[in-house]
Symmetry: C2
Subunit: 234 residues, 2 copies
């Protein structure tokens, strides 16, 4: 029999982690970078082979590192996901209750705005069911609820704001940046409007970021003649 040590080392080796071979580690990073680039350009459903080619590796290498598209997507945007989670803890560290709340929303939306494929990944991961992460979830949920309660107690967040409204905001924003990946002004504008409406003292209308770059005429609604009569009946 050959030595057990080498056999064990080989089997139990973390995936392209510290103990992995140098080329494996390098290729893993290349694939992740390529995935972000390709996903940004062609969307999350881009062919796996395209990612592999862009990374300069064979498809087999890609599949070896990431057996499913889902694993690849998660790998590609892990950093963003972690930043989201960290924003939650940072928000509670913020002394001002409203600032903390506002920063959380803005940080997550900014992440969605800046990294092209991330919103789709975020949406795709939406109805998650990895039992292993249940605990982390529960903690995060409690953390956000605490954040909400604190801002409400300070009289800055409207009393009827419900924690689930965060999901409403993020999903809506996701949709916007997915539809208009280039128009950051639109994203900022939406966030500003929403934060405005979350304030308990809706009173003082707050200044808005500059208007969106998109033209209204691009809307489908504007390209269908209404049946029956014409606008401004000429």
């Amino acid at each position: 029999m050959t030595g057990e040590s080498s056999r064990i080392t080989a089997q139990g080796r973390a995936r392209a982690g510290a103990g992995a071979r140098a080329d494996a580690r390098r290729n893993r990073e290349r694939v992740l970078a390529a995935a972000r680039a390709v996903f940004a350009e062609h969307g999350i459903d881009a062919p796996m082979a395209t990612v592999a080619r862009r990374a300069g590796v064979g498809v087999a290498t890609l599949y070896r590192h990431f057996p499913t598209r889902d694993a690849l997507v998660r790998g590609a945007y892990q950093r963003q996901m972690e930043t989201c989670a960290r924003a939650l803890t940072d928000a509670l560290d913020e002394p001002d209750p409203w600032q903390g709340f506002q920063r959380l929303v803005e940080t997550v939306c900014e992440l969605q705005r800046e990294e092209r494929g991330f919103p789709a990944a975020f949406l795709g991961a939406f109805p998650q069911s990895t039992a292993e992460q249940a605990q982390a979830r529960e903690q995060a949920e409690r953390a956000f609820t605490a954040l909400v309660r604190r801002a409400q107690a300070a009289g800055e967040l409207r009393a009827d704001f419900h924690p689930s409204d965060l999901a409403v905001v993020l999903l809506a924003h996701c949709g916007l940046v997915t539809a208009l990946p280039d128009d950051r002004a639109a994203s900022r504008r939406l966030v500003a409007y929403l934060l405005q409406s979350f304030r308990a003292d809706g009173a003082a209308a707050r200044p808005l970021p500059p208007p969106a770059a998109l033209a209204l005429r691009d809307l489908p609604i504007a390209s269908v003649s209404p049946p029956g009569r014409r606008l401004f009946d000429a």
Copy 2:
């Protein structure tokens, strides 16, 4: 030579219109109904063959009536698109400026909320370029701008609302209902928040519809342990 009349009639016949054969007209309607059903269930990208099977027709019949998927989608949601366009004219008929504005937003969002596949169709049609409809577009754009100006002049719509914000609202809402087709409460909630923030007198916080049905724990953000330290470090 055979009679010209029959030849001309056959060639120039409107697609499954009044002059078409009975079975053709019937099948066209069946296909449209099937398309709505299938799109609602499996999304707009569902295989054409699935639609054909559901309609009880062959694929060839489907393609004969709708040569491209795009044509099918447009056909399936033409009524909704027209209702959108009509809402624009109706809004101007409304005597109260704010009511008119509010009704427009609510009507369009309700359409997106009620018919499953419509939001995706709406998004898909977004950067349209059918030159033929340029005039109708321009008219609709002017109509909406007029609606905005009127509500602003009445001091009910905030002065810095920009007509392009309508697109922001609709795209965001589209994203939300696409992500949560079953949660109408979430949609109503978003619309209420947005309309609130559009009011010039943001002051009086308006009552909100009941909270969304979704659980916060479904958010991806809640399923990633923040790196570095734990929430509520136990």
